[in-house]
Protein backbone atom coordinates (compact mmCIF):
# COMPACT_ATOMS: atom_id res chain seq x y z
CA UNK A 1 0.00 0.00 0.00
CA UNK A 2 1.33 3.35 -0.99
CA UNK A 3 0.91 5.85 1.77
CA UNK A 4 1.80 9.18 0.31
CA UNK A 5 1.42 12.27 2.43
CA UNK A 6 0.45 15.28 0.33
CA UNK A 7 1.66 17.92 2.73
CA UNK A 8 5.08 19.08 3.77
CA UNK A 9 6.82 18.84 0.40
CA UNK A 10 6.96 21.65 -2.13
CA UNK A 11 3.57 20.98 -3.75
CA UNK A 12 2.41 24.28 -5.19
CA UNK A 13 5.51 26.23 -4.23
CA UNK A 14 6.45 26.81 -7.88
CA UNK A 15 3.03 28.26 -8.70
CA UNK A 16 3.12 30.37 -5.53
CA UNK A 17 6.44 31.90 -6.59
CA UNK A 18 5.39 32.41 -10.23
CA UNK A 19 2.16 34.11 -9.15
CA UNK A 20 4.24 36.62 -7.14
CA UNK A 21 7.01 37.03 -9.72
CA UNK A 22 4.47 37.78 -12.47
CA UNK A 23 2.68 40.16 -10.08
CA UNK A 24 5.87 42.17 -9.59
CA UNK A 25 6.53 42.28 -13.35
CA UNK A 26 2.97 43.52 -13.99
CA UNK A 27 3.18 46.09 -11.18
CA UNK A 28 6.46 47.51 -12.55
CA UNK A 29 5.06 47.58 -16.10
CA UNK A 30 1.91 49.35 -14.88
CA UNK A 31 4.02 52.15 -13.42
CA UNK A 32 6.19 52.40 -16.56
CA UNK A 33 3.10 52.42 -18.80
CA UNK A 34 1.36 55.15 -16.78
CA UNK A 35 4.51 57.30 -16.81
CA UNK A 36 4.88 56.85 -20.59
CA UNK A 37 1.20 57.67 -21.17
CA UNK A 38 1.48 60.76 -18.98
CA UNK A 39 4.65 61.88 -20.80
CA UNK A 40 3.48 61.18 -24.37
CA UNK A 41 -0.21 62.03 -24.00
CA UNK A 42 -1.14 59.80 -26.96
CA UNK A 43 -4.22 61.45 -28.41
CA UNK A 44 -3.21 60.75 -32.02
CA UNK A 45 -2.80 57.42 -33.79
CA UNK A 46 0.89 58.07 -34.56
CA UNK A 47 1.75 58.92 -30.95
CA UNK A 48 -0.13 55.85 -29.65
CA UNK A 49 1.47 53.55 -32.22
CA UNK A 50 4.86 55.10 -31.52
CA UNK A 51 4.73 53.89 -27.92
CA UNK A 52 4.53 50.25 -29.00
CA UNK A 53 6.88 50.68 -31.94
CA UNK A 54 9.64 51.43 -29.45
CA UNK A 55 11.76 48.30 -28.94
CA UNK A 56 11.84 48.43 -25.16
CA UNK A 57 8.08 49.02 -24.82
CA UNK A 58 7.38 46.20 -27.27
CA UNK A 59 9.50 43.82 -25.20
CA UNK A 60 8.09 45.11 -21.87
CA UNK A 61 4.51 44.93 -23.15
CA UNK A 62 5.01 41.36 -24.34
CA UNK A 63 6.54 40.40 -20.99
CA UNK A 64 3.55 42.05 -19.30
CA UNK A 65 1.09 40.05 -21.40
CA UNK A 66 2.85 36.75 -20.73
CA UNK A 67 2.80 37.62 -17.01
CA UNK A 68 -0.92 38.46 -17.16
CA UNK A 69 -1.72 35.14 -18.84
CA UNK A 70 0.37 32.98 -16.49
CA UNK A 71 -0.90 34.91 -13.44
CA UNK A 72 -4.47 34.51 -14.70
CA UNK A 73 -3.93 30.77 -15.18
CA UNK A 74 -2.98 30.32 -11.51
CA UNK A 75 -5.73 32.62 -10.22
CA UNK A 76 -8.56 31.24 -12.36
CA UNK A 77 -7.44 27.65 -11.72
CA UNK A 78 -7.68 28.39 -7.98
CA UNK A 79 -11.22 29.70 -8.48
CA UNK A 80 -12.25 26.48 -10.29
CA UNK A 81 -10.57 24.39 -7.56
CA UNK A 82 -12.54 26.27 -4.88
CA UNK A 83 -16.00 26.30 -6.43
CA UNK A 84 -16.34 23.58 -9.08
CA UNK A 85 -16.83 20.27 -7.28
CA UNK A 86 -17.51 17.72 -10.07
CA UNK A 87 -14.08 16.48 -11.21
CA UNK A 88 -14.89 16.23 -14.92
CA UNK A 89 -16.37 19.72 -15.10
CA UNK A 90 -13.46 21.20 -13.12
CA UNK A 91 -10.94 19.56 -15.45
CA UNK A 92 -12.87 20.84 -18.45
CA UNK A 93 -12.88 24.41 -17.06
CA UNK A 94 -9.13 24.21 -16.41
CA UNK A 95 -8.39 22.95 -19.90
CA UNK A 96 -10.60 25.63 -21.45
CA UNK A 97 -8.89 28.31 -19.34
CA UNK A 98 -5.40 27.14 -20.30
CA UNK A 99 -6.45 26.89 -23.96
CA UNK A 100 -7.80 30.45 -24.21
CA UNK A 101 -4.77 31.85 -22.38
CA UNK A 102 -2.33 30.15 -24.76
CA UNK A 103 -4.42 31.52 -27.61
CA UNK A 104 -4.28 35.03 -26.13
CA UNK A 105 -0.47 34.77 -25.93
CA UNK A 106 -0.31 34.05 -29.66
CA UNK A 107 -2.74 36.89 -30.32
CA UNK A 108 -0.60 39.29 -28.24
CA UNK A 109 2.48 38.39 -30.32
CA UNK A 110 0.53 39.07 -33.49
CA UNK A 111 -0.75 42.44 -32.19
CA UNK A 112 2.70 43.64 -31.15
CA UNK A 113 4.78 42.41 -34.09
CA UNK A 114 2.35 42.87 -36.96
CA UNK A 115 1.19 46.38 -36.13
Amino acid sequence: MVNRILVGAHYGLKDWIIQRATAIIMAVYTVIFLVVIAAVGPDSFDAWRGIFANGFMKFATFLFFVSVFYHAWIGIRDIWMDYIKPDALRLLMMIATAAVLVGYAGWAVQILWRM
Partner: protein, 130 residues
Protein backbone atom coordinates in the same frame (compact mmCIF):
# COMPACT_ATOMS: atom_id res chain seq x y z
CA UNK B 1 -7.46 8.84 17.27
CA UNK B 2 -6.61 11.38 14.64
CA UNK B 3 -9.54 10.25 12.49
CA UNK B 4 -11.90 10.61 15.42
CA UNK B 5 -10.83 14.22 15.87
CA UNK B 6 -11.43 15.01 12.20
CA UNK B 7 -14.87 13.36 12.15
CA UNK B 8 -16.07 15.27 15.19
CA UNK B 9 -18.91 17.60 14.31
CA UNK B 10 -17.71 21.16 14.19
CA UNK B 11 -19.90 24.25 14.07
CA UNK B 12 -20.24 25.61 10.59
CA UNK B 13 -21.67 28.95 9.52
CA UNK B 14 -21.66 29.48 5.79
CA UNK B 15 -24.91 31.39 5.67
CA UNK B 16 -23.45 34.20 3.60
CA UNK B 17 -25.99 36.98 4.36
CA UNK B 18 -25.36 36.56 8.12
CA UNK B 19 -21.57 36.83 7.85
CA UNK B 20 -20.41 40.39 8.40
CA UNK B 21 -17.13 40.59 6.51
CA UNK B 22 -14.49 42.91 7.97
CA UNK B 23 -12.75 45.31 5.58
CA UNK B 24 -9.74 43.01 4.91
CA UNK B 25 -12.29 40.31 4.01
CA UNK B 26 -14.10 42.61 1.58
CA UNK B 27 -10.71 43.51 0.10
CA UNK B 28 -9.93 39.81 -0.29
CA UNK B 29 -13.14 38.81 -2.10
CA UNK B 30 -12.88 41.91 -4.31
CA UNK B 31 -9.35 40.82 -5.19
CA UNK B 32 -10.80 37.57 -6.49
CA UNK B 33 -13.83 39.16 -8.19
CA UNK B 34 -11.68 41.84 -9.87
CA UNK B 35 -9.18 39.23 -11.10
CA UNK B 36 -11.98 37.11 -12.56
CA UNK B 37 -13.57 40.15 -14.23
CA UNK B 38 -10.28 41.22 -15.80
CA UNK B 39 -9.79 37.65 -17.06
CA UNK B 40 -13.26 37.67 -18.65
CA UNK B 41 -12.61 41.03 -20.33
CA UNK B 42 -9.18 40.03 -21.71
CA UNK B 43 -10.46 39.28 -25.24
CA UNK B 44 -12.23 42.66 -25.39
CA UNK B 45 -9.09 44.47 -24.21
CA UNK B 46 -6.86 42.62 -26.70
CA UNK B 47 -9.31 43.43 -29.47
CA UNK B 48 -9.35 47.12 -28.48
CA UNK B 49 -5.51 47.20 -28.44
CA UNK B 50 -5.33 45.46 -31.81
CA UNK B 51 -7.83 47.85 -33.41
CA UNK B 52 -6.20 50.92 -31.89
CA UNK B 53 -2.85 49.94 -33.44
CA UNK B 54 -4.18 48.79 -36.81
CA UNK B 55 -4.90 52.04 -38.69
CA UNK B 56 -5.81 55.68 -38.04
CA UNK B 57 -9.44 54.86 -38.96
CA UNK B 58 -9.59 51.93 -36.54
CA UNK B 59 -7.92 54.10 -33.87
CA UNK B 60 -10.67 56.68 -34.32
CA UNK B 61 -13.20 53.85 -34.11
CA UNK B 62 -11.77 52.70 -30.77
CA UNK B 63 -11.90 56.30 -29.51
CA UNK B 64 -15.55 56.39 -30.51
CA UNK B 65 -16.29 53.14 -28.63
CA UNK B 66 -14.47 54.38 -25.52
CA UNK B 67 -16.43 57.64 -25.73
CA UNK B 68 -19.77 55.85 -25.51
CA UNK B 69 -21.37 56.44 -22.07
CA UNK B 70 -21.98 52.73 -21.49
CA UNK B 71 -18.40 51.80 -22.44
CA UNK B 72 -17.15 54.56 -20.14
CA UNK B 73 -19.00 53.07 -17.19
CA UNK B 74 -17.59 49.59 -17.93
CA UNK B 75 -14.06 50.96 -18.43
CA UNK B 76 -14.30 53.03 -15.28
CA UNK B 77 -15.27 49.91 -13.35
CA UNK B 78 -12.45 48.01 -15.04
CA UNK B 79 -9.89 50.67 -14.08
CA UNK B 80 -11.12 50.45 -10.47
CA UNK B 81 -10.90 46.62 -10.55
CA UNK B 82 -7.37 46.85 -11.97
CA UNK B 83 -6.26 49.41 -9.40
CA UNK B 84 -7.86 47.44 -6.57
CA UNK B 85 -6.16 44.22 -7.73
CA UNK B 86 -2.88 46.16 -8.06
CA UNK B 87 -3.01 47.80 -4.60
CA UNK B 88 -4.40 44.76 -2.79
CA UNK B 89 -1.76 42.65 -4.54
CA UNK B 90 1.03 44.88 -3.22
CA UNK B 91 -0.52 44.52 0.26
CA UNK B 92 -0.44 40.72 -0.12
CA UNK B 93 3.20 40.82 -1.24
CA UNK B 94 4.02 42.80 1.92
CA UNK B 95 2.05 40.31 4.04
CA UNK B 96 4.12 37.54 2.40
CA UNK B 97 7.28 39.10 3.81
CA UNK B 98 5.62 39.51 7.23
CA UNK B 99 4.93 43.23 6.93
CA UNK B 100 1.67 44.32 8.57
CA UNK B 101 0.39 40.91 9.69
CA UNK B 102 -1.01 42.21 13.01
CA UNK B 103 -4.78 42.74 13.25
CA UNK B 104 -4.60 46.51 13.59
CA UNK B 105 -1.96 46.89 10.85
CA UNK B 106 -3.96 44.62 8.51
CA UNK B 107 -7.11 46.67 9.07
CA UNK B 108 -5.25 49.92 8.51
CA UNK B 109 -3.52 48.68 5.34
CA UNK B 110 -6.84 47.52 3.87
CA UNK B 111 -8.23 51.02 4.43
CA UNK B 112 -5.16 52.43 2.63
CA UNK B 113 -5.72 50.02 -0.28
CA UNK B 114 -9.31 51.20 -0.74
CA UNK B 115 -8.35 54.88 -0.44
CA UNK B 116 -5.37 54.68 -2.82
CA UNK B 117 -7.06 52.47 -5.42
CA UNK B 118 -10.17 54.68 -5.54
CA UNK B 119 -8.02 57.83 -5.78
CA UNK B 120 -5.94 56.33 -8.61
CA UNK B 121 -9.13 55.24 -10.38
CA UNK B 122 -10.55 58.77 -10.24
CA UNK B 123 -7.29 60.34 -11.50
CA UNK B 124 -6.69 57.82 -14.30
CA UNK B 125 -10.37 57.62 -15.19
CA UNK B 126 -10.59 61.39 -15.48
CA UNK B 127 -7.43 61.51 -17.63
CA UNK B 128 -8.26 58.63 -19.96
CA UNK B 129 -12.03 58.77 -20.24
CA UNK B 130 -12.78 62.49 -20.19
Amino acid sequence: MAEMAIKKKRPKNLDLPTIRLPLPGILSILHRVSGAAIFLLLPVLLWLLQSSLASPEAFAGVKGIIGHPLARIVLFGLIWFYMHHFCAGIRYLLLDVDKGVGLEAARRSSKIVFAVSIALTLIIGAKVLW
